[in-house]
Symmetry: C2
Amino acid sequence: MRVRLEDVARKAGVSPKTVSRVLNDEANVTDATRERVRAAMEAMDYRPNPSARSLAGHRSFVIAMLYDNNDNPASTYLAEIQDGVLEACDAHRYSMMLRPLRMRDSDFIRRVDALISDHHPDGVVLTPPITDYAPLLKRLRELGVPYASVSPLRRGKALGVTMDEQLAARAMVEHLIGLGHRRIAHVIGIANHGASRWRLAGYREAMAAAGLTEDPALVVQGAFTFASGVEAARKLFSLRKRPTAVFAANDDMATGVMWAAGEYGLKVPQDVSVCGFDDTPLSRQLWPALTTVQQPSREMGKIAAEQLLADLRGQGAGRLVQIPFSLQVRGSTAAAP
Amino acid sequence: MRVRLEDVARKAGVSPKTVSRVLNDEANVTDATRERVRAAMEAMDYRPNPSARSLAGHRSFVIAMLYDNNDNPASTYLAEIQDGVLEACDAHRYSMMLRPLRMRDSDFIRRVDALISDHHPDGVVLTPPITDYAPLLKRLRELGVPYASVSPLRRGKALGVTMDEQLAARAMVEHLIGLGHRRIAHVIGIANHGASRWRLAGYREAMAAAGLTEDPALVVQGAFTFASGVEAARKLFSLRKRPTAVFAANDDMATGVMWAAGEYGLKVPQDVSVCGFDDTPLSRQLWPALTTVQQPSREMGKIAAEQLLADLRGQGAGRLVQIPFSLQVRGSTAAAP
DNA sequence: TAGCAAATTGACAGCGCTGTCATACCTGAC
DNA sequence: GTCAGGTATGACAGCGCTGTCAATTTGCTA
């Protein structure tokens, strides 16, 4: 049979309850006792049984990650966040449960309810774009389930992580302006996604700050996909006065823009500079490699989970953590022709 | 308080044990009783407590998905498999746990041991390339943990799913031959991956069957990445006698080949046909869209998990399920110039 | 129509841990 | 030296289910 808490207690010469206290980092145990118990656990390679802990302690040691899987068939962005959440869970001996949701489905809330009543997660991590879905947040509060968000749109009282995307977008566009570009285009992401808004706002801010007037023909709608990037770029490259630089709201679209440049016989970066946002693995594999904004998704997932776990422990001093971005200047941007 | 099994029992007028039997689909319950209990469960919206079930029943209702996250930072292939596994788990009220591993790390086995002793998964799903890592399989057998594999290399007694990749590759190349191509190149994947071997073998088989002798210069090594596809294609397009068609062992590399074609001023498919393998979302977004082999990763993950779950239930008639492939002929292949 | 095996149902303990509360111990103020 | 007021530890029940085995009912056979 496996070693149980009782066995550890016997070996350490204390009661099971005391071992339990040590296991859960509770107060009122002398350092000497605590040390003795720790040593016994170590020596016996004790592994607490999570089911027993949940049953008796009314906590599951599970946190759920909720995500929307409507548009993106397996996006790498989510996979990276997931990876970070998983790492944090592992470190704290929690387990992670996944719950794909479809925002458009009518049983959205029912699916959340089922998750909660079937698995009793101690908390949930929310990812874009469901970080700001009001009925969900309301329900979670009703059910008393704490949550942390990655890049929530509303930065009020939320617990989680964000990056100053607007500032990052502005920095990106300023980089282009610094290279001498004046006709700078922007490909917008899916309307109403926070990411799209912030990045557009940053673009506008940079243009305005440099005294450049925005040409409406140079701001085109995309949808965060490669194909939408290609389409948007075709519009831009068909203009009589083509842009000399294109800032796409994410890397997938930027890749599409580079693709379309090839179609039009335009060399990147000699004829047109292209830059994106996200620093996906693909962006480094392209040739020339894509200038982009590094958004540390993995790190953000990890931090969101850690914020949540700290909150569960009652050490929830943390609110919305702001994580720094960094510009990755690579081969796809160069001085204006 | 939540409704417990005991409450259902009272309502149905039977003992708790009988409700438990119904819950677990055990034998020796009359249809009438079973029906009565089911109705009571339904009426009360009964949700069994998984912790209590695990604790008393010595099963966790968890299956773990093991994967290698060394090379591929968040590959969509794995994300799709994961999605399928998750779907199967959900349907059977199991939960899925993820365990990223690094095949090169020395504590590989220790990490597996920790997973087992911490969470007691009832079984595990193995994904390429760790489906055939002997020390792992040995350890799982020692620990008595059942497993199912997605695309295992050795098709012996394994439980899981495969696709006849060799046949699919052959069909792909035969499609090219049918279009009149004779100088057909192949870009190989990472050496020793089953996928690389089978696809190469299928390529050779088709060439031989058509009476075409293999030109060693036309078979180049890649590594499943976009960048490696670009590099491989540059070698091919620099040859004095260029290939008229390139079959890359996966879509990422095929995308790289198309990219490189652009660099060399070659039009796809007029000057050169390009095809891949996997049918990743990207392949449809390219322009022209990529001719490829649809490998239903999501479906395969689902089937592997279902095979495993059936095995756990003792209904393990299933062995290695072979799933059909389908050629997706799209714009990137055309008659030889 | 008694008699026996098989099918059905239930009583009860216990899975491994934690919450509650009682008890033992210790400190410093007077 | 005594006692209040804390701190440290332990006894014990019970979380919600299932395994075991005994009790009861049913279906057959002779």
